[in-house]
């Protein structure tokens, strides 16, 4: 389902780029002036397909998306979660062929920006180019945190760490506050993101609820004690780089 030629706003991207450095009015104008096509996706649809060679990069404007790798036996690993303001495949500007797919975990709105537009903006502003580069570097930092969770954290700390991370990322772009955020994903999707069996997700949720640090009802996640959850999960937000610095 594609809607062409309808501009849509790139405010989510501007917000996201402004999290870690000041951006000038000229840079905002460059970003907002990027040609793009806007697309609405239903839950479960693909934003970007594995083995495709995209000529454009996709920014999430609303909803949750995930990078996924599916094995021959149907087992799936979700390797990253993306929120509004994130580029899901900026790396394809350089890597060319996608080694994974990106799917909509909820109904989504996305903007596809042609690579030539991105290159033009980066030629006009080297600083903007570095901020685009930074976003792929942050993706890498998040992957390191996820690998550490998968390999070495207890299940409860792994889930707690993910909740802390999502809260901090969503709060930074104004989509979470007072410890609460909406995370409307199925338990099977959570299982695929954590690398747990479905039963273990249930057990871990029960264990985490029993700590009294988090409540999870329907799709509403409420962190009742962020400091306590961060301590339990050894969550150190340094890797998210949510600090404004000259870059």
């Amino acid at each position: 389902m594609a809607v062409n030629g309808f501009p849509g706003t790139l405010q989510a991207l501007v917000t996201s780029l402004s999290l870690r450095d000041e951006i000038s009015a000229d840079e905002v104008a460059l970003v907002e002036g990027l040609a793009r096509r806007r697309r609405f996706l239903h839950r479960g649809e693909e934003l970007v397909s594995q083995h495709s060679q995209p000529g454009e990069s996709c920014v999430v404007l609303s909803g949750f998306t995930a990078r996924e790798v599916v094995l021959a036996d149907g087992k799936r690993q979700i390797t990253a979660l993306h929120i509004p303001g994130d580029f899901v495949d900026l790396h394809a500007l350089l890597l060319k062929v996608m080694d994974h797919s990106v799917i909509a975990l909820t109904d989504c709105e996305a903007a596809y920006v042609p690579h030539r537009e991105l290159l033009r903006a980066m030629e006009r502003s080297a600083h903007l180019g570095r901020l685009f580069w930074l976003s792929t570097v942050i993706d890498g930092a998040i992957q390191r945190a996820w690998i550490t969770s998968s390999g070495r954290r207890s299940a409860t700390a792994h889930l707690g760490h993910l909740i802390c991370e999502l809260y901090r990322r969503l709060a930074a772009v104004g989509l979470a506050e007072e410890g609460r955020f909406s995370f409307p994903v199925a338990q099977s999707e959570l299982a695929d993101a954590l690398g747990f069996s479905l039963v273990h997700v249930n057990r871990t949720l029960q264990d985490l609820r029993a700590t009294g640090l988090v409540s999870w009802k329907g799709s509403l996640v409420t962190i009742l004690d962020f400091e306590g959850l961060a301590r339990l999960s050894q969550f150190d937000p340094t890797y998210l780089n949510l600090v404004k610095m000259p870059r």
């Binding site: 299940a155 747990f196 069996s197 479905l198 273990h200």
Partner: protein
């Protein structure tokens, strides 16, 4: 699709599944139950020398249709 409930215990912490999950059939439920065992083992071992990990599958009527367990038995082999 029928709904199944998968209960589990690591010998210390028991989980009674009150939500259940819709699956294609009994085989899929068995697979899901067995799939949980290694996760549970990884979570608590090494911790003691005796431990039983168990899962069971209940059908919509509450009847247990499948159960499985893994037992850890460890012991020192020195002179007694």
């Amino acid at each position: 699709m029928p709904r199944y409930y998968i209960d589990s215990s690591d010998g210390n912490f028991s989980h009674v599944d009150s939500e259940g999950v819709e699956l294609a059939g009994d085989e899929a439920a068995r697979y899901l139950a067995l799939d949980a065992l290694p996760d549970m083992v990884r979570e608590v071992l090494p911790d003691g020398d005796r431990r039983e990990f168990a899962v069971c599958v209940r059908d919509q009527g509450g009847r247990v249709i499948y159960s499985a367990s893994l037992t850890l038995t460890g012991s020192w082999r020195g002179e007694s």
